[in-house]
C-alpha cells in the first residue's frame, strides 16, 4: 500500500498494539503507513470505513483518540505515546 521513505521516531498505540510513527505527522497517515485501513464502522450500517481525503473534508477517518470519540484522524498530529482505536459505530456519551 504505502512505504515510508523517512525514519520513524516514536511509538503510538492503535487498538492495543504498538505502531511506529513520526511525531507531528497526521495520525491517519501513521495508521496508513502501518497498513491500517479499517478506521471505523459506520453508525448508519456498521460498515467498515477508512479515510478518503486526508484533509478534514470527508469525515470518514473518525477514530477514538485518548478516549474521545469521533475524532478526525487526519486532523490529529502524532505525539509520542498517543493512544487511539477504531470508532465502533455510534458513540455514547
Amino acid at each position: 500500500m504505502f512505504r515510508r521513505t523517512e525514519p520513524t521516531d516514536c511509538m503510538i498505540e492503535w487498538d492495543g498494539r504498538a505502531l511506529p510513527a513520526c511525531a507531528g505527522e497526521p495520525l491517519a497517515v501513521a495508521l496508513l503507513a502501518a497498513g491500517v485501513t479499517h478506521f471505523r464502522e459506520t453508525a448508519v450500517s456498521g460498515t467498515a470505513r477508512g479515510p478518503l481525503c486526508l484533509m478534514g473534508a470527508c469525515f470518514d477517518c473518525l477514530v477514538q483518540v485518548e478516549g474521545e470519540a469521533n475524532v478526525q484522524a487526519c486532523m490529529v498530529m502524532v505525539r509520542p505515546g498517543l493512544r487511539a482505536g477504531p470508532q465502533h459505530g455510534v458513540r455514547g456519551l
Binding site: 453508525a43 448508519v44 469521533n70 455510534v90 458513540r91 456519551l93
Partner: protein, 378 residues
C-alpha cells in the same frame, strides 16, 4: 397550458398541504398539489417533530380539543404513512416534557399547569426532580433542574419521513405534483377556480385549498379572506448520532430515531424572513441544553438551521372557507406535525364535503381582526 379540472388543487406542498392533499386523494378525489422550487420560504423542513398536546390551546379550548383529536388519530396515521414512505415514521408516544430550571421556572410551570387543568386539560402533571430523573435513569439531570411538566400522551415523530410518506401517498393515489412555480392569481368562474402560475401554466379545480404557509396572506386575499401570518423564526441545533440516551422528548430537546439530538427552539419575531442562525442565539440554546442534560456538553453539533413558523397573531391555527369565493379554503398553522392526523382526516373530509367541521368555527381568521402583538410559540 391548461390542465383538465381537478377536484381539489392544494396551493402549497408543505406538511400541511401535503397532509390535506393526501387525505383528499386517498378518499378518491382528483388532487393537484402546487409547490414552489427547492429554496422556497418553507416551514416544512424545519419542523421539530413533536406530536404534542401539552399547553396547546391555552385560552382556546376548541384548539385544545382539535389537538387532542389529532393525537388520538396519530397511531393510525403513523401506520399508514410508514407504509407509504417505506420507512418507519418513528412515531413514539412516550410522553413529553417541559424542563424547568430553578425554583421560579418550576413555580411558574405549576401555575400554567393549574390553568390548563381548569380548562379541562388534566392530562398534564408536574414532576419533581426525583420523579423526572426516574423517567430517564441513564440521562443525568443537571443540578439546576427542579422538575418538569409531563404529558404522558405526547410524543414525537420524524417529520421528514412523514412528509415523504405524504408525497409517496399522493403519487400512489395518482395526484399531480406540480412543482417549481409560484401562484400568481386565483380566479373563480362558473366552472370553479383557475389558478395561474409564474411559469404561465394554469390549473383548474372545483375547489382550492390555500396551504401556503408564509405565503398565506397574499393568496387568501385573492379569495376575500384576511389571514394575517408572519414568520417567527426558531433556530435549531442537531448533533452527531449518539447511542440512545434520552428516552422521551422535551419541548426543546429530543433524540431522533437516527440517534441525533435536536435542540430548539428560539422564538424570534423580528419581521425578518431570513432562515438564518446566529451564533449568539445558538450559544444560548446550547447553554440551556447543557444545564438541563450536562452529558450533552461533549456532543458535537453537526448542523443548525432557522425554521420559519407561519404564526398567526394569537398563535392558533386558522381555517376557513371563503364566503365570497365558496369552494376556496384556507388553512394555516405552526404545528403541522401534531395536527397531521386531523388535517389528513376530518379537515380533508370537510373540504371534500364542502364545509369545514363545526368544531373549527372558533378558529376562523375573522377572530384575528385587529389583533397585533407577538405570542410566544407553544
Amino acid at each position: 397550458m391548461t390542465d383538465d379540472a381537478f377536484d381539489i388543487a392544494v396551493l402549497g406542498g408543505g406538511m400541511l398541504g401535503s397532509a390535506i392533499g393526501w387525505g383528499c386523494a386517498a378518499a378518491g378525489a382528483r388532487v393537484a398539489v402546487l409547490d414552489e422550487g427547492d429554496v422556497a420560504l418553507r416551514a416544512a423542513r424545519g419542523n421539530f417533530g413533536l406530536v404534542w398536546s401539552q399547553g396547546k390551546g391555552d385560552g382556546m379550548p376548541p384548539y385544545a380539543a382539535w389537538t387532542r383529536r389529532s393525537l388520538a388519530a396519530w397511531p393510525a396515521l403513523a401506520e399508514r404513512v410508514s407504509g407509504l414512505a417505506g420507512r418507519d415514521v418513528g412515531y413514539r408516544p412516550v410522553g413529553g416534557l417541559v424542563f424547568c430550571l430553578g425554583e421560579a421556572e418550576l413555580s411558574e410551570r405549576r401555575q400554567t399547569v393549574q390553568r390548563l387543568h381548569n380548562q379541562g386539560q388534566d392530562g398534564v402533571q408536574v414532576l419533581d426532580r426525583a420523579q423526572l430523573q426516574a423517567l430517564m435513569p441513564h440521562c443525568p439531570l443537571g443540578p439546576e433542574v427542579t422538575g418538569a411538566s409531563y404529558q404522558p400522551a405526547d410524543g414525537h415523530a420524524d417529520p421528514l419521513t412523514l412528509l415523504r410518506g405524504f408525497k409517496a401517498g399522493l403519487l400512489a393515489a395518482g395526484a399531480a405534483m406540480l412543482n417549481g412555480a409560484s401562484v400568481t392569481s386565483i380566479v373563480r368562474d362558473d366552472r370553479g377556480f383557475v389558478v395561474t402560475r409564474s411559469d404561465g401554466s394554469q390549473v383548474r379545480a372545483g375547489k382550492i385549498v390555500i396551504a401556503g404557509g408564509l405565503g398565506t396572506p397574499a393568496l387568501a386575499a385573492q379569495v376575500g379572506l384576511a389571514v394575517p401570518v408572519r414568520p417567527v423564526r426558531g433556530q435549531n441545533i442537531v448533533t452527531e448520532r449518539l447511542a440512545p440516551l434520552l428516552p422521551l422528548p422535551a419541548s426543546a430537546i429530543r433524540q431522533t430515531t437516527d440517534g441525533t439530538i435536536q435542540i430548539g427552539v428560539t422564538s424570534e419575531d423580528d419581521g425578518s424572513d431570513a432562515p438564518l442562525t446566529r451564533s449568539e442565539d445558538l450559544a444560548g440554546m446550547a447553554a440551556r441544553a447543557v444545564r438541563v442534560l450536562p452529558d450533552l456538553a461533549r456532543a458535537r453539533i453537526i448542523r443548525t438551521w432557522g425554521a420559519l413558523r407561519p404564526m398567526t397573531p394569537d398563535g392558533f391555527p386558522a381555517y376557513a372557507q371563503s364566503d365570497s369565493h365558496p369552494g376556496a379554503f384556507v388553512a394555516v398553522c405552526h404545528s403541522a406535525v401534531t395536527l397531521a392526523a386531523v388535517h389528513a382526516g376530518p379537515l380533508a373530509q370537510g373540504i371534500l364535503a364542502g364545509a369545514l367541521p363545526d368544531s373549527l368555527a372558533a378558529l376562523h381568521p375573522r377572530r384575528l381582526e385587529g389583533m397585533t402583538g407577538h405570542v410566544p410559540a407553544h
